[in-house]
Amino acid sequence: MEQRYDIAIIGTGPAGISAAITAAARNKRVLLLGSTGSSDKVSKAHLIRNYPGLPEISGDALAEHFLEHLKKMDIQITDRKVAMIYAMGAYFSLQIDQDFVEASTVILASGVSFGKSLPGEDENLGRGVSYCATCDAALYRGKEAVVAGYAPKEESDARFLAEMAEKVVYLPVYKNADLEAMPDNLFPDRPNIEVRKSRPKSISKRDGRMVLETDEGEIETDGIFLLRESVSPDKLVPGLVLDGNHVKVDRAMATNLPGFFAAGDITGTPYQYIKAAGEGNVAALSAVSYLDRQK
């Protein structure tokens, strides 16, 4: 098993990059996860006027400076997506695809790109709504399920579920380009998967069954699987306490979970690059002192 990281940082916007720089300066073993081109929100910004030392800089140029800084400090970006983070007590276990990586502390700086839950989704989570097809497939033997896949890679989960379930309705909730590129016969090997190009609207229960309202009418089924690209922080990190839509933090950027910190837009407004960078710095220093206390 590979060595445990001191600090896992999720996100490569100003908060994550700033945290990584400070953590590396303190000689911590850092895992920086995110997009190798910094965050879209930075690189696509037109003009930033309030970043000290860099007047009237374009987002593109700021992202370049960020990446240059990482390079100078020999910090690599690992371009992989974290599916779940488990608070194990003395450490955190990060599920990255099917692999598990361990870190003593985590700084969550992944921004606010996650969408809102569907009406009825949160109330029925674990009671007919699931985010994990591989987990719950066995409970759908001989039953029906709807899978809403928010990216083409979720098709394999629909296929897996169809091995157990009697019938699966698959909703490709894709971006337009992916939807256009999708073949007419998506699951030629699985006659029990029906594809419907409609988008989920809301979820309810009726006579013990689940009802998914879509933009093209409702579907009655036994279970609804929502397989999204990004989920809200309390679903990414079970047990994490939120404040509205944001992660609840104190002035040290500490969350309710010991050793778990958050920084940047995910902690709340103002959504400013320099505020994010400042919080990343605080979060890294807090993680460092947490690590020192554990020794």
């Binding site: 779940m84 488990y86 608070a87 194990m88 007590g89 276990s93 599920q95 099917q98 989570l125 674990g126 009671r127 007919g128 699931s130 994990c132 591989t134 987990c135 719950d136 066995a138 409970l139 033997r141 036994d222 279970g223 079970p238 047990g239 979970l257």
Partner: protein, 104 residues
């Protein structure tokens, strides 16, 4: 005490007396794997207050159906044979401990 793996024939006897915690899981479920060591720790620390069992839902579908389990990990708390509480999905140790403790 540790978490004892049981199957359907042993289930009734296992939950019949006192506070009993049953972890319903499956081998390929990632969150279940993460929750297992948490329950193992709790079973050691709370050995005088509750008994801990684990059950594979794939091997014991009848029991899973009886409690209408549609997502795992699913932790059920029983008191003298009656289900009194539940916790669905991975939860950190302090939260899971609180679920058990409020039923002692």
């Amino acid at each position: 005490m540790s978490v004892k793996k049981i199957d359907a024939p042993e289930f009734e006897a296992a939950i019949s007396k006192g506070v009993v915690v049953v972890d319903f899981n499956a081998t390929w479920c990632g969150p279940c794997k993460m929750l297992a060591p948490v329950l193992e720790e709790l079973s050691e620390e709370m050995s005088e207050k509750a008994a801990f069992y684990a059950m594979d839902v794939d091997d014991n579908q009848g029991v899973a159906l009886r409690f209408s389990i549609s997502s795992i990990p699913y932790v059920a708390v029983f008191k003298d044979g009656v289900k009194v509480d539940e916790s669905i999905g991975f939860v950190p140790k302090p939260q899971l401990q609180a679920v058990i403790e409020r039923n002692l």
